[in-house]
Each structure stands twice: as C-alpha cells, then as structure tokens.
Subunit: 427 residues, 2 copies
C-alpha cells in the first residue's frame, strides 16, 4: 500500500491534468503559455511600469447555505486560465518582467490529512502545477513585500494591510477570447466527448423515458468515458414543446417530463440545421457578429415565408426587427472556460438597444482563434461550436444533423440490447 | 403540443414531488405535517405570544464566482423541511395560531418565460406546494403588515423597513431530529436507491477502472433509476489505501486513481462489518451516543488486540483514549435532509474535549425517530444508516456485508456482458 501511496503522489506531482491515458492530458504548459501571453501584452502596455506583479485570487471553498456540505469545487475562470489549479483557496502571482509564476496554496492543519489524504508540501505543489515558486498563502504579504513590486495589478481587491502597492485594475491582457493551439485542443476534446454523449442519448431515447434519464445518461457518458466531472451548464433536456424553452432544466422545470414523441423534436430541429449550414458557408474572419446575427434573421424569415408562416417584404420585416419574435436571443457567444465566455464587450464596445440585438453577448468583429457558438433558433435551437480560422472556420461539434444521419444512429441504438428502465420493471 | 403543455402544467400543479411512477412520490402533506408539528411546539412554548408568525427565507439563486453560470439549485434545508419548495428565492411564513402556511415566490418578469418556460401564477404555486396562501415576494412587507403579527419568529434576519415586529430567534420547534413516518419513508427510499447503486458498483468494479468511473456509475444509477438528481455529498470512491481517507474525492484528490486490487479493499472492510454487527445488537433507545462511541472504541481495541496489533490492558487503553488513534472521527451523526443533520448540540449540550469524542456530531441520548449513521472505523470505514425505534432500531441500509454476499454479487456482475471501457478501446 505504501507503493500505491507513492504512485498516487507521483501521479499528482505530474505537471498536468490527467484522468487516465484514455482521456486528454492537459499539460501545465497550457497555463504557462497563457501567463507568457499576458506578460507580453502587459510589457507592451506603456501604462504598466517595470517591476509590476499581477496578483490573482482563486475561487474560495464554499458550503451550501448554512450547512457544512461542500459542493464539488470548480475553479474561478480567470485563475484557472492563468494557473490551472484544481483546488480552492489559492492565490497566484505573475512577475510581468520575468514571466515568473508563483502560487500560494493554503496551509492546512496537519490533522486534515485524516480527512483529505496526505497533504502536499510547497515543492510538490510547485511541481504539480508547473510554476516557478510556491509559498503558503499565509505568507503572501511577506513574500510580496520582499519582491517589492512597483505596482500590483489585480482583478479583485485583496485585503492587505498596506494600501501602498495595491491598485485595482481591470487589465485587458488577461484574455480568454483568442485561443492558443493547446486551448483549441482542449475545446476539440470536450466537443468530441459531449458530441458522443449526444449520440449516446440519440441511441437510447424512446417514448416512455423521462427527460432526466437522458440527462443522467449524457452526464454519465461524459464522465465515465471522457473524465469530464463537471458539466459547463445544466442539461437542457426538453422534449416536446419544452424544446422551445431556452434554459429548460432549471430547478423550476427540472427535466421532469415523460418523453412522448421522439420525432416531433428531431423534425423541428432539422429546420434549424438548414440555417446553420447557411451560416457556415459564409466567410467568417473580419465579419461583424452583428451582421452575422442579421444574416441569420434574414435567412430564417425567408424560410418562414417560403413555408407560408409569414407574409410580406423581407426588408420591411428586417426594419421592424420581426426576426426577434422568433429568435429573441443572440446568434451565439464566445465559448471557453465558461459557457458564456468573457470578452464580448471590451471597453468601447456597447450593446445595441434593439430587439434581438440587445441580447447579443458580443458585437465584436470576428478574428482568428475566437471560439463561438452558432445557435440560430426558430422556437427550437440547434447549437454548433466553431473556431474562427484564418481561412474560414473549424466546426468543433460532431453530431449528426441530417434526417438520414439521425435515423442511422437511432437504428444502431434499436439494435442494441434494450436498456433496463425502472418504469418497465415489475414493482 | 398545446396538449403536452397542459399536461406539463398539470403535472407541476400536482401538490407533490414526483419523478414518475417508478420513483417515490413525496406528498406536500409531509411538509404540511412538519409545519403542524412546529406550530404545536410553539403553541406550547409560553415565551411565544398569541398571534406570532414564523418567517423563513429560502435559498437564493447563485452564480459560480463572477460568471453567469447557475449551478443546479438545492434548497436550504430548514426551508425545505417546512415548505418542500424546489425553486430559489422564495420566502415562507407560518401563522402559529392557525397553522396556516404562506409562500412568497419571486415575481419574475414575463420575458423570463422565453428562458424558463411558462411562469406559474400565484394560485398555481399555492396548489403546487400545498400551502394555504401565496403572495409575490415583493409584497411580503405589505402582507405581513396586514396580518399584524404580535411577533415575527425568524431564523435569519430579514431586511425589513420596520424593526417593530422583527425579533431574531433561534427557536427549537423547527427540528429535523425526530422523523415522521412520511420522512422515514423518504429516508428508506433514498437508502434503497443508494444501496442498489453500491451494488451496481460492486458488480462493475474491476482492476484497471478508475475510481471516478465508479463515482459516475453510482451517480448515474441513483439518478436514472431513482430520480435522485443531487447527491447528498461528494462520492468517496477511494480504492487501495485511499479508502482510509475520510473525505477522499474532494477537489485535491478527485477519485482519480486507477483501481489496482479490488479484494484488498473489500477484505479490510470486513473487519468494520464485524464491529457494526456488534453495535447493532445493542438496545438503542435511552442510550447515550457518547457511550455508544466508547463501546465501539472498546470493541475495536479488543479486535485489534486479538489480531496482535495492540498489546496491554483494554481499560488502560480506554483511559488514554487510544481508540482515537484508530477512529479519530465520531461513531456517527444525525442524518436527514443534510448528511450531517442539525440538532446534535441543542442548547445545554456541550462538546467533550477529549480525543475522538470531540469529533462527535452529537452527544445526545438516543430517542425514538432519530436517524443516525453508524460508521465505526479502523482505517477503513463501513457505514450503516439506522432509525431508532421504540424496541430497537431499523436498518435502512441494504448492502451486502459478508464475504459470501459480496462474492455472490460480484459473480453476478462477472456474468453480465462486459462493460465497454474507454481504456480498453483502440485509440
Ligand atoms: Mn448558448
Ligand atoms: Mn458520515
């Protein structure tokens, strides 16, 4: 057992995130490179003096309401972007001139080992997360004083004794909008696994199942097969006309309906597919996202007119923003560590106060290495995730979209041994 | 589709929590009866004047760190006990004299229907949760003024304009310690499903799987088969010597090890089983939980002495609290809506400042309708959940414990078609 303990420790000391060889290993180099990018931008910023240090606070451990239950921790996104630390209650610092990365783990009482397992030492933490230095969080003030920075650049105010160094600043070098190759690899992997999870649901779905059973299947696939412990957002498993509720699945409507008719849902989503294809065929880079939204509106209105559901002049419909009746949300949003990723409205960008357009989560012009969702919707929504490339776009999502593809997948599912359902079992 | 919409609405208007006929339906009567119990205790309390009203605040909706991600909502436990409301941002009131239950749902803007589905009206909320009256949360001050209570009994301070009524009070009538028949039924059901989930893991486990894959299987079983969306606590899936880490599975040790040897774990847990059996054979009611803990200590030390692992006089070992070296945690704790349920230390009960004993989550004398865990441990822990009855105890947990039972379950698992593992698939 000592041997196993060492194996575990060695595993944790590996400077990477890993859930077995069958999953994607995320090297700590990904985060190191993010820190490097940040430093380069700050070095190029003439408002940032020599000797500056970036100081970030990681997510804190939390308990549910007033109980002692600790939900599974998920790191705060900026901190994750810069350090890839999985655990709560860390601080992190980056020396802008040298690019040196420093983490400050919390020093837990020795007795915690009984509850949490062997506690890592500073050198182990340093190696585990691939940074240059590690100090205990309780020593942060002393360490920073010794480093004597000209300025502290922070995203959050830190409660220090001295106000001398501290400056509250929203600096634009820390950015998740432009993805590196390593980050794109992570996004490809999570799209692959979650696409497979959707296919698993397509194979398993049949009338008489409950929506939440499909949620359970999807989450199980992603974790069991892909090592993905936390979903980015609550599963939206609406069947029938629940498919038209944008954030279905929340506490007030918790995917609790019985699935009545599988085909009703698929057929409706085929309309959306056609629109997605149209949007995909457009050149992307240097195009304004607002124009993309308007294009989607126009294509949808044309389709609705063809079907005889709306009548009249398309230009007139566009003028009165009729499209917003059918697509009240934005065409899509940045995607990354968060589902609705940051950076949609940097300083100088403003929301457009018109129906539909005011819901856009970004109005920026598309550039290489941006990653977005495309989710045009008339009542039902289909979503694709894409990465903007120099010569077009890369489709990250890989789920079947055509009637034929979906039929083939469902037929494959029907040939499998039937899944035991509690509702079919004798009580 | 309109038909389906009505079906859904009707379903939500049913005064019960339900996830299909194959799961346990929890009637709103359960919560109504809790409110009745609370009123009876308050009516009998001479410090509570006529015309008092209990006012409670439900859990608030939250977002993760500074992002807009809303984790799945889980109700605050006191509020759940009194109202069974599944959704965030409610208030609730109870008229002590009449027992009348009143809820105050948040009034959401009409436009939210696009994201959340059709919004319920006040009468629908009233019927959905089986209370006597419903008003919008924004009208709470007006409604309470009209009711003109002599006193407001609160668990939390409410930020009202008038301090005249408000009194901050931790009243002891609200209690989850003594379970009603309806509550015991819920606890039996959740024990049944999670026991079956453990059996599913026993059938599936084999060397080469990862601990988190077993976590995923367990959670999937509980949700898919039993409709249990949220686990009470983070899965502790420690294999090998991780089985000795009490809260293994947390962010710093996220069930990420490969399972090496299945038998090592089972065998160690057999020792604990023997101790549990011994504890079970004791009469329970009117026994102090401290004495139960000491008894477990003694039984464990005797077993260790028999095995030649400790030497000397058992009474001497007890005097120096040697047992705490092997069982540093308490023998068990109250169980209910929370894993570590409330009520362990009511006013007048104090922690005992001695090794092992200071970790006890209650020092109370056992009474009928208390529900507790029994989890004696020497390095490895096995847990049983029990309800104290008038003539002994009811074992709620139903998992195999003997070598023969476990072998039979595992053999059954080996006869099933092999589960496809990503680690076995060709890349
Ligand atoms: Mn979206
Ligand atoms: Mn416990």
């Amino acid at each position: 057992m000592q041997n196993e303990s060492r194996k575990m420790a060695a595993y944790r000391a590996q400077p990477a995130f890993c859930r077995g060889d069958h999953t994607l290993t995320v090297s700590s180099e990904l985060f190191k490179y993010n820190r490097k990018r940040l430093c380069e931008r700050l070095q190029a910023n003439k408002d940032v003096p020599k000797g500056a240090i970036v100081l970030l606070q990681g997510g804190e451990s939390e308990t549910r309401h007033c109980s002692d239950h600790e939900p599974v921790f998920r790191q705060e996104s900026y901190f994750h972007w810069a350090f890839g630390v999985e655990e709560p209650d860390f601080y992190g610092a980056i020396e802008v001139d040298t690019g040196k990365g420093i983490i400050f783990p919390p020093k837990l009482p020795d007795s915690y080992a009984v509850w949490m397992g062997r506690l890592l030492g500073l050198e182990e933490f340093r190696d585990r997360y691939g940074v240059d230095e590690a100090f205990w969080a309780e020593d942060i003030l002393k360490v920073l004083k010794e480093k004597n920075p000209s300025t502290l650049l922070t995203l959050r105010g830190l409660n220090t004794d001295s106000g001398k160094y501290s400056r509250e600043a929203a600096f634009d070098g820390i950015s998740e909008v432009f993805k590196t190759d390593m980050e794109l690899e992570v996004l490809r992997y999570s799209n692959k696994i979650s696409s497979e999870g959707h296919i698993e649901v397509m194979k398993s779905i049949k009338p008489g199942m409950y929506e939440y059973q499909l949620e359970s299947l999807f989450k199980h696939y992603c974790y069991f097969m892909g090592g993905l412990r936390a979903g980015a957002y609550t599963c939206i498993c609406g069947s029938g006309d629940n498919g038209s509720i944008l954030h279905y699945g929340h506490a007030g409507a918790p995917n609790s309906k019985e699935v009545m008719d599988v085909y009703l849902t698929w057929e409706a989503s085929i309309i959306a597919t056609r629109l997605i294809s149209h949007v995909h065929s457009q050149p992307m880079e240097s195009v304004s996202w607002v124009d993309m939204h308007l294009l989607a509106d126009r294509v949808q209105l044309e389709a609705l007119k063809e079907l005889g559901l709306v009548k009249g002049d398309i230009d007139e419909m566009m003028k009165v923003r009729l499209g917003a009746v059918f697509m009240p949300h934005g065409l899509g949003h940045f995607l990354g560590i968060d589902t609705h990723d940051v950076g949609g409205y940097p300083q100088g960008c403003e929301r457009i106060d018109k129906p539909g357009l005011r819901s856009l989560r970004t109005v920026r012009t598309l550039e290489n290495r941006m990653v977005l969702t495309i989710e045009p919707g008339i009542y039902f929504i289909d979503v694709d995730d894409i990465a903007i490339t120099e010569d077009g776009m890369e489709l990250l999502t890989c789920v079947p979209r055509t009637v034929e593809e979906i039929e083939a997948i469902m037929e494959e599912g029907r040939r499998r041994p039937p899944m035991p359902l509690p509702q079919d079992m004798k009580k």
